[in-house]
C-alpha cells in the first residue's frame, strides 16, 4: 500500500488535531507547520508510526523572515519515507528573541551537524543538542550572518544611479 499526501495529512490531524496548520502542496511536496514546542513529538510520531515511517532526515535548515514579528525564524525539516518514497516538509516558527527549539539529535544522528550549521548561521538555539557550537564560521563570531539584517550588496538593485547602464 502506498502512502499518499492525503493519508499523511489525515493521520497527523487525527493525532495532533488543529495544532498542525498551514497545509499546502508547493510543487507537490506536502508542507505543514506546527508549534515549536511540539516539533519533537511530531517528528517522533512521524518516525514511529507504522504507516508513516518518515525515518530519514533529508535536510534541516532555517529561514529568516524579519517582517513576521514573533515568528521570525522558521526551522524547516525535510523528511523522507524511503519505503514508500514520499517526502514531506515540516516547519516550526520561532521568535527571534528566544529562538529555542528542541533538538532532533536523539532521533536523527544526522541532525547534529545540520543543527550546528543552523545555529551557526541563524542563531537557533537547539535545546538538548550535545555540542551546539559554531561549525563553519570562526568561534569568535558574535552574530548570525544568514539573518537578513546583514545584506550583501544587491547586484540587481534598482536604486543605483548608474548613467552608463541607465539604471535608476
Amino acid at each position: 500500500m502506498s502512502l499518499t499526501n492525503e493519508l499523511i495529512q489525515q493521520r497527523l490531524t487525527e493525532k495532533f488535531g488543529g495544532q498542525l496548520t498551514g497545509w499546502s502542496l508547493p510543487y507537490g511536496m506536502l508542507t505543514f507547520t506546527g508549534p515549536k514546542e511540539l516539533n519533537l513529538k511530531v517528528l517522533q510520531f512521524l518516525y514511529d508510526d507504522a504507516e508513516l515511517k518518515f525515518q530519514f532526515l533529508t535536510d534541516l535548515q532555517a529561514v529568516h523572515y524579519p517582517d513576521s514579528i514573533g515568528a521570525e525564524l522558521a526551522v524547516v525539516y525535510h523528511l523522507h519515507n524511503l519505503t514508500d518514497n514520499i517526502r514531506i516538509r515540516f516547519k516550526v516558527f520561532t521568535d527571534i528573541k528566544t529562538p529555542d527549539v528542541y533538538s532532533a539529535t536523539a532521533l536523527y544522528a544526522s541532525a547534529n551537524f545540520m543543527e550546528r550549521e543552523t545555529y551557526d548561521f541563524f542563531g537557533v538555539n537547539f535545546m538538548g543538542h550535545p555540542n551546539l557550537i559554531r561549525i563553519l564560521n570562526v568561534e569568535e563570531m558574535d552574530y548570525f550572518p544568514m539573518r537578513k539584517e546583514f545584506p550583501l550588496e544587491d547586484q540587481s538593485r534598482v536604486d543605483k544611479d548608474d548613467e552608463m547602464f541607465g539604471r535608476g
Binding site: T58, L82, R89, D154
Partner: protein, 406 residues
Amino acid sequence: MSDHILLPEGSIEKLTTTLNLGPTHPATHGVFQNILELDGERVMSAVSTVGYIHRAFEKLAERRPLYQITPLTDRMNYCSSPINNMGWHITCERLLGITLPKRVDYLRIIIMELSRISDHLICNSIVGVDSGAFSGFLYLMQFRELIYEIYEEVCGSRLTTNIGRIGGFERNFTKKAFEKLDQFLATYPAQLKEFEKLFTRNRIFMERTIGCGPISAERALNYGFTGPNLRATGVDYDVRIHTPYSSYDDFKFEIPVGTTGDCYDRFLVRNEEMWQSISLIEQAYAKVKEFTGAEAEVFHADVPSYYLPEKKDVYTKMEALIYHFKIIMGETDIPAGELYSSIEGANGELGFYLISDGGRTPYRLHFRRPCFIYYQAYPELIKGGMLSDAVITMSSLNLIAGELDA
C-alpha cells in the same frame, strides 16, 4: 596490569597521544582537520573540525540572479562540478516549469554520467594510493583528462565548468566532442577492467580494506548517508530511480549495493557504478544519434526570458537584445515558490532548497551537501581502528572539502 605505565596522581601527562591529522596533511586530500586521541596506533576518539574553506555560498546566492548561482555550485563538489551545475539548472527549471527537449535531457545524462565516472575514478584510485598502490591512479588519471577534454569541447572549461544554462546547453556539442566521447567509450572500459584486475581480488588490497571503517545500514540511514556510501551498506536508494529527473527513467540501469558498508564495499559499489554509468552513456548516446533533421540540432528549450539568445541575434534583433540585457543585468523576476529539488550527485543526494518571494534573486537557497551530512559519522567509523585505517576510510568516503564547507 603490572607492566602498564601508571601515572602519578595529578600528573599532567596522559596515557594517550593527541594527534592533529590535518588541516593540511597530504593524507587528508583536502582541508580537513581531525584531532585524534591515539592509544599507540589505535584511534580512541576523533573530533572533526570543518569550515576551513567556507565561502558563504548560501548568502551570496541570496543576491544573485539564478544564472549567476551556477558558478557557485561548481565549487562545491569540484570533482564532478557538471552534476552540481545540472542539479541547479534542473532546480530552476522545476521552479519555472520548463520542460526540456529529449535531446537535451540525453546530452545532460551523458555529461552527468561522465562526471560521475570522473568522480568515482578519482575516489577509487585514491583509495588505492592510500593503501599503497599507485599504479591504478596513474592508469585511470588519463581518462579523467579525457573527460575534462570533453567538457572543454562542450563548455570551454575543465574543472569549474559552469556547464549548460537554464533550459539547455550554451551551444550544441561539437563534432570533436562526440569524437572524444567515442574515444572514451572505446578505451575506458578496457582500462577500468585492468584497474579492477589490479585491485578487486588483490590479496593485499582486500586485507587492507575489508572490515575497515564499516557502518550498518541502520546507522548509515540515521546519519543521513546517501549515494555510494549508503548503497555500500545495502540500501538501494538512488535519486535517479526514486525521483527521476532528466529522463533517467528512459534508460535501464542497475543500482549496485554492498552489504557491510566498509571501505571494500564502497570501493566495489563505486566501481560497479562506473560500469553502469558507461552503459547509461552508451544508451543515451545511441538515443542522441537517433534524432534526425531539425531535432538533431536541438540543444536548448525555448525559454527566452532565461536562456541567453545567440550573440548574432543580439546584434541584429530587438527582442534578442532586450532579453540579453535583462538576463545579464539580472532583471528577470522569478516566480514565487518553495521547492526542494534533488539529484543524485557523485557523493549522494545533492539537494537544493529554494525559496523565492517573487524577486529577482532567491529569498533563501540551501544546499543539501551529501558530504557535510555523512562526514559527521567519521569519528564513529574510525573509532577503534588503526590510524592508517582512518586515512583510508576518509578517502573511501570521498570527502570533498568544497562540498563540506560550501
